[in-house]
Amino acid sequence: MGYRRLSRPHEWRRTRRDIGADVDEEIAFHLEMRTEALMAGGMEREAAAAQAAREFGDAPALRRTLSRSDARRQRRWRGALWLDDLRQDVRFAVRSFRREPGFTTIAVATLALGIGAAVAIFTVVNTVLLRPLPYPTHERLVQVAPSVNFNIALSREVAAATPSLAAASGLSLWTMTLTGDGDAARLTGQAVGSDFFRVVGVQPALGRPFRADEQEPGTSGVVILSWSTWTTRYGADPAVIGRRIHVEGGNHRDREVIGVMPRGFAPPLTARPDEVAFWIPLSLAAGRTVATDSTWYVNQVVGLLAEGGSAETATAEVRAALAGVREEHGALIGEEHVRQAAVVPLRDSMVGDTRTTLLMLQGAVVLVLLLACANLANLLLARGDRRRQELAARAALGGTRARLVRELLTEGAVLAALGAAAGLVLADVLLQLLRVADASGLPRAAELAMDGRVVGFAVAVAALAVLAFALLPALRATRGDLRPDVAAAGRPQGRTRGSRRIGAVLIAAEVALALTLVAGAGLLLQSVRTLRAVDPGMRTEGVLSLEVTLPPAEYDGNRPRAFFALLHERLAALPGVESVGAIHLLPFTGSNWGFPYLAEGHAPPSGAPLPAANFRIATPGYFETVSMPVLAGRTFDGTDVADGSALVINRAMAEQLWPGEDAVGREIRIFGSMPARVVGVVGDVHQHALDQAPLPEMYRPLSQWHVTTMVVMLRTSGDPRRLADAARAVVRDIDPHVPAEARALAEVLDDSMTQRRFFARTLTFFGLLALALGSVGVYGVMSYATSARLPEFGVRMALGASERQVLGTSLRSAMLPVAVGVAAGVLGALATTRLLESLLFGVQPDDPRVLLASAGVLAAVSMLASFWPALRATRAEPMRILRDG
């Protein structure tokens, strides 16, 4: 060979400096040899060296080039080595898991639960809080807030006066009747300004958007269909464009279809976007001004920020515009409306108040994940103890500790990867189980989907989880003397003091985590129950609501009154109906009419608008049907003829206007000009939210006010839903073109609490999951610890300790960590309830019942776990225990 090989271990570990040194050495060797050769030929050393250097060429340049290429090669080699190692580790891990299917199943299942829960909630957080709105213009979409009703003229004027908004559109939700091409149906449509499509950046898939000149009654008889309406009702026939269809409402009986929106388009600011069936233009007669426009149903105004425009500049402009209107038209706009008006990003205004609760939910779910990791850490700790011999063998074959730890971490990573995959599937199931998409009341819930970011989150969580649950066990399993003879003692050596301390810490941690979660869930549940128990002001059990919409064009003048009078008669005659009455707006839905008024004995406020109260139209029998108490005077009856001026007010209004006095007989001028006399006072109804004080309300009888929609209430003794078909049939009998929608009133009330109920049931689910995980974990740690102490118990008993003493020792050693855990858990629970205070209603945050119950469960579990094996031990012979270990 000509040379002796030099062994250089850790070739792959050379640093840049090492590489440079090697190259130097190689070059130096060459130069030295050439110098010596020249010297052998008679040259002086210096001259020889110089000659050698000249012959060599540019040594420094060569050094640089060679260093670079060597470093590059080293990097590639290292990478390949590392990849090889990884592949080997993974194969090893998979093999060892296949040998222990029980352990693997439990481990993966635990991880899947933890990761799945975290991913499920993150999907919701992602959809509602993180993902941009599904419109091309989402970055510049804003809303004029707060959402107070404008009229069309005002919304247009505000839009025109804000150059920071490139386009703006009012929005209003309408229910209109569609006939022809199928059953008569009441569908929800959205009335929008002509700029709406520009604001959202979406054009109709077929046909065209509204034109600027289609905003007056003469020209606004057009309609754009939603994709699903077009496919289900019109068979996706493109020839529907240009047809006139019968859709009653908004001053038109039929309209021309001019377009179809793209599939999946979900309009903003609607609770159920997939239920919006069509769009019509907001239509105002020419010449109407803000003062003469009575179309106060524009619920929201959305806009598109112009290039260079910002929410701040737009806000200033809107305030200026509103202030200007106030100056010109006085009492139409309140001063606080001007002050509070603002332009906010649309997503913020849609999502706003759910942010805190969603983040809290995410935090809760992370706790569940930590519990799962704690369980897994315990499993791996025990497994590490079992594998001491195997690890010793590997160490003897040349594995360094770092290498072994890396192998064990790789095993953890394989478990985490399996857990993450299963967790993603589980998350999907969880989301359906919790009914997020359809029954959570969350904004944007319809958009729920697992996208790339969710998968990325799952991967990240799995990676962090590996560190959480695998690192400590890996370090512990490879610690100390791994020599085969030492490890072959077989007995779980792991019960050193340090090991016992880890077990205790794990127990305390699991107990604390589980308690915190369970406490939060319990309190939230309790608050929902309490909220439900609040008296809404009327009895909803046994009441069916029937929403009847008369086509306004046909029912003018007295005809609505006649219709509803007949309807009352016929409905009252149905078997099982105890009472009938009607009101023109369904309670608990947020639908509201608010009118200003002037009250007797009260001077009109100077420089401020008139006070306003909720306004309702009711028929005789309404208050009795929904069991609203009559506190003074009477309710409506046959004496309220058409030219009368009867008024019923609620207690809040009576107390506010004439505290301590009799309100009956007093006069109130609606709008400041229309006189009415109070004939009775009824109880309050929590119209908007059960945990807010009721607002002043006034009622006028249908006989003295013209409306074409009424919600008829029927009271029955059994399930009100059984009456639905019969009631609808009665309406059809009187007029087959009139649609009627029936709902149990109790359901309507429940719906108003949907979001709160969603949070309660979700947190409950996770609380129970935490309790289960915590119990399993605590049981596992405890029984393992106790089993490991059996030799000690055997010795004690051999030395004369009684069974009771041994059991006592065992139990006592269990109680300390549990006690610590309970203490920490209580602190955690207290902290959580502070957070929950915004959601809690009627529940004192320091309510101890739920906490005590959960602590009891966990303590019981851990006592059982430390009792049972100890009991078995005391029954067996001490010598056998010592022998068998």
Partner: protein, 113 residues
């Protein structure tokens, strides 16, 4: 011109492979071998030689490891790999054909001269 550079590089590589065909050598040894065999006609700049050695290493035609020379100095020794041996054989054959062809073209001149 690129062609001639490649040609030159190819030739250098072939010489190095040939040098290593009999025994493993360090860089200086290769340089000596080439000088010796060509009786000084072909002198390779040593810097270029080392670059060529690295190139061949990268293409796995030679492998290198550190060793101790006869005079007890540390040196990096280069060995021909099996792939290198095969390449040498095919390059040598190609070169012979090429040289023969050029000879064919040029020889009439010489003979006449």
């Amino acid at each position: 011109m690129t062609d001639s550079m490649d040609l030159i590089r190819g030739t250098v590589d072939m010489l190095i492979l040939r040098a290593l065909a009999e025994e493993a050598l360090h860089g200086y040894g290769v340089s000596q071998w080439i000088r010796g065999r060509t009786a000084g006609t072909l002198e390779l700049q040593d810097a270029a030689l080392y670059q060529a050695l690295r190139r061949l290493e990268e293409r796995r035609l030679v492998s290198a490891e550190w060793g101790v020379s006869e005079n007890n100095r540390r040196a990096r020794y280069y060995t021909l790999t099996r792939a290198g041996r095969k390449r040498l054989a095919s390059e040598a054959a190609a070169w012979s054909r090429y040289a023969a062809a050029v000879s064919q073209v040029l020889t009439p001149l010489g003979q006449e001269g």
